[in-house]
């Protein structure tokens, strides 16, 4: 399968380049093009994938490299147009998160996928983490009882090696931390807990894009909780889900361990996750380590390739990822200014004016 990598920013350099290189080694794909209007960036990513044609535009890549699958990793505002162009050209798409900046864009992408009959996948790769899959199973089976509440604290002093200012301009990114890192968070919550019935949202954008977001969500299931996201300041990076009989914690980017326990007990568990040994004599024996963070990322790509060939169900479809964009769009629509009692009253007044709320 020939793959075009569209957008040569940090995610392509840090993750996709290496993932494609591995799949090339396995004979699953060949990278036929890397695409970016900045030739310095195509050179950087092209150095990782030396067999790929370095293209300045998607038009050039589609015409010259004739990919079967396009990975859309350009700035957010290009996701919809590029995905639709690829799908209309009968090219399957794996779109980086967020799927798009608006629901209307998502709908255009989904319609294009339906027209073409090609796969439209979205890169919510945390769903491929064994830790996240076990939490999903715990919730679906009610292993700890029904979910009552949740508390998510995810943030860091921004350290992503961004190669342009696109993450920090609303017209390029569609927003700040909520639509960026928060797209992963929202996707996991919706996947684990189902639909949202009520959302209350505040952030600290004052004419720009937010660095801090706080959501208060009530799920259709009745569970309620808060989500605090930041690219301004380090947070504990823990998702604590309180259930009827106990609790479970996902620690951000920890693919192979969970913390969990039962209510009102003096002990909790830190559980390492392993693959099952597949030992017929002892079916409950643990085996190898689970895939690493990078291997989970590769597994996402492997799933998309298999789905595009009709060999496996797709992990995260456009229809599924649209729910995340819909909630983010709804939050931005109803946003109010984050309370910041550490500012002077006069500053807060101007902050409200700048925030247009």
């Amino acid at each position: 399968m020939k793959v075009a990598l569209v957008g040569c920013g940090a995610v392509s350099e840090v993750l996709y380049g290496k993932a494609l290189l591995q799949l090339e080694g396995e004979g699953l794909v060949s990278t036929s093009a890397v695409v970016d209007p900045n030739p310095r960036r195509t050179a950087v990513v092209g150095a990782i994938l030396p067999g790929a044609r370095q293209c300045a535009s998607l038009d050039e890549a589609l015409a010259q490299a004739k990919p079967d699958l396009a990975i859309i990793a350009a700035p957010h505002r290009f996701h919809a147009d590029q995905a639709v162009q690829c799908l209309d050209g009968s090219v399957a798409v794996l779109c980086e998160k967020p799927m798009a900046t608006t629901v209307a864009e998502c709908d255009r992408m989904i319609a294009a996928a339906e027209r073409s009959g090609r796969v439209l996948a979205v890169g919510h790769f945390r769903r491929f983490f064994p830790s996240c899959q076990i939490i999903k199973t715990m919730i679906v089976t009610g292993a700890l009882g029904a979910v009552r509440s949740f508390r998510v604290l995810e943030g860091e002093t921004y350290s992503w090696p961004a190669q342009s200012a696109s993450f920090f301009k609303r017209e390029e990114s569609g927003g700040g931390v909520l639509i960026d890192a928060g797209a992963h968070t929202i996707d996991l919550l919706l996947w684990w807990l189902g639909d949202v019935s009520e959302a209350h949202y505040v952030d600290d954008a004052m004419g720009g894009v937010e660095a801090n977001s706080v959501l208060r969500l009530k799920m259709a299931s009745g569970a309620a909780g808060t989500v605090h996201l930041s690219r301004d300041w380090p947070l504990p990076n823990r998702y604590v889900i309180e259930c009827e009989h106990g609790w479970v914690t996902y620690i951000c980017d920890q693919v192979d361990r969970l913390e969990w326990g039962f209510h009102a007990r003096p002990y909790g568990l830190e559980s390492g996750i392993h693959a099952m040994a597949n030992n017929l004599a002892e079916p409950r024996q643990l085996g190898a380590d689970v895939p690493s963070f990078m291997a989970c990322f590769v597994n996402q790509l492997r799933n998309v390739v298999a789905a595009a060939k009709g060999q496996a169900p797709l992990g995260v479809s456009g229809v599924e990822a649209r729910k995340t964009v819909a909630l983010i769009e709804d939050c931005y629509r109803r946003r109010t200014l984050l309370p910041m009692p550490w500012l002077e009253p006069g500053e807060l007044a101007r902050a409200h004016r700048l925030a247009h709320v």
Partner: protein, 367 residues
């Protein structure tokens, strides 16, 4: 300033630079142009719609381009010895080439040492012979700026704050909170030393005054909150914010402090290990009494749910530089800043502590 100023801020992604930018915008005082080293430095600043630029603070040519049109430039760059020295040279020369009227350089009160002699004021001689590299670097940077400004192409003002705290302070707010929660905080002689705090909002107000007051050109100013605040006061205010009893803070005696510093000095002279290891080694060479106190503190019950729940309790690391800072016996004066700049601290330590606590609870996710 007769017209609205364009203010370039170097090091705008950091604690002081980002609050200066925010304060100027939210008080509608200037057109702000943040200048950061890399795109990632824009995350906090991009809450506002700004004319942000990316340039290395040691790159004179790059800075000259990005400072075009600026009336004033604030130098808030942090870094090691080389960055401190290279950036002040590059900034002055770039400001001169770009036609910037005034450069406000954020130095530090440590140019007078951690425990300045009684009577030390803004015009006292700088202390070049100090055991800590940062202090020496700041002295050298001020001296270099004085040399550079002999050509009078750019007006310069040097500001010397001491212990800057408040929202987004890594050193004197967040780290103190973390140490308190982990029970690794310590205070020399129970924190009776003078802290010479300056709340971030008082500092950025002084920076703005320094950019505009004609009589400030060529001058240096010490800056504090103008209140007698001890280290115990500072730690207690943070402790209250995170629901920790300050009575449990480890007290380091003067003898033990000197023991730590002596070991550090020996190791520095030997030049065998990095400073980060010196402190840990120093712990091992400490008196049994201090080790016992440390163990006693660490054996107290864990903090209540919602404050902190470390999997395993770390040991306190007594840092020679921190202990040195904590043993200050004099309040630094702000009379010159008051007279020349018209600086009056607007936010009292009490109010500053309350605002800091509000931010800290938010930043820790407990609000």
């Amino acid at each position: 300033m007769s017209k609205r100023a364009t203010a370039g801020i170097l090091g705008a992604s950091g604690f002081i630079g980002s609050r200066l930018a925010e304060w100027l915008i939210l008080n509608d005082l200037a057109d702000v142009r943040p200048i950061v080293r890399s795109f990632r430095g824009l995350s906090r600043l991009s809450r506002f719609d700004l004319d942000s630029r990316v340039a290395d603070a040691t790159d004179q040519a790059g800075l000259t381009t990005e400072l075009q049109g600026c009336d004033v430039v604030f130098h808030c760059v942090v870094g090691g010895h080389e960055t401190i020295l290279k950036s002040i040279e590059a900034t002055y020369r770039a400001a001169a080439a770009a036609g910037v009227r005034r450069l406000v350089y954020l130095s530090s009160a440590v140019v007078h040492g951690h425990n300045p002699a009684p009577g030390t004021d803004d015009d006292s001689e700088l202390l070049a012979n100090q055991p800590f590299e940062y202090n020496v670097s700041k002295v050298m940077a001020e001296q270099r700026l004085t040399e550079l400004s002999q050509d009078r192409k750019v007006e310069t003002v040097v500001l010397r704050p001491c212990i800057v705290f408040g929202p987004r302070s890594q050193w004197w707010t967040a780290q103190v909170a973390t140490q308190l929660l982990l029970k690794t905080a310590y205070l020399v002689e129970g924190g009776t030393g003078i802290c010479n705090t300056i709340y971030i909002d008082n500092l950025v107000k002084a920076m703005w005054l320094a950019s505009a007051e004609p009589a400030a050109a060529g001058q240096a100013f010490l800056l504090t909150d103008g209140e007698r605040v001890t280290w115990r006061d500072l730690y207690a205010s943070v402790a209250a914010a995170v629901n920790v009893d300050p009575a449990g803070i480890l007290s380091v005696s003067l003898e033990e402090m000197r023991e730590v510093q002596r070991v550090a000095l020996v190791q520095k002279r030997l030049g065998k290990i990095k400073q980060s290891r010196v402190s840990r080694l120093a712990i091992g060479m400490m008196s049994e009494k201090l080790k016992h106190v440390g163990r006693a503190v660490l054996s107290t019950p864990p903090p209540p749910p919602g404050t902190a729940a470390p999997v395993s309790a770390p040991s306190p690391v007594i840092d020679p530089e921190i202990t040195s800072l904590q043993w200050c016996e004099s309040m630094l004066p702000i009379a010159k800043a008051a007279t020349v700049l018209g600086y009056q601290p607007q936010v009292s330590f009490k109010d500053a502590s309350a605002r800091t606590a509000a931010w800290l609870r938010f930043a820790l996710g407990v609000s």
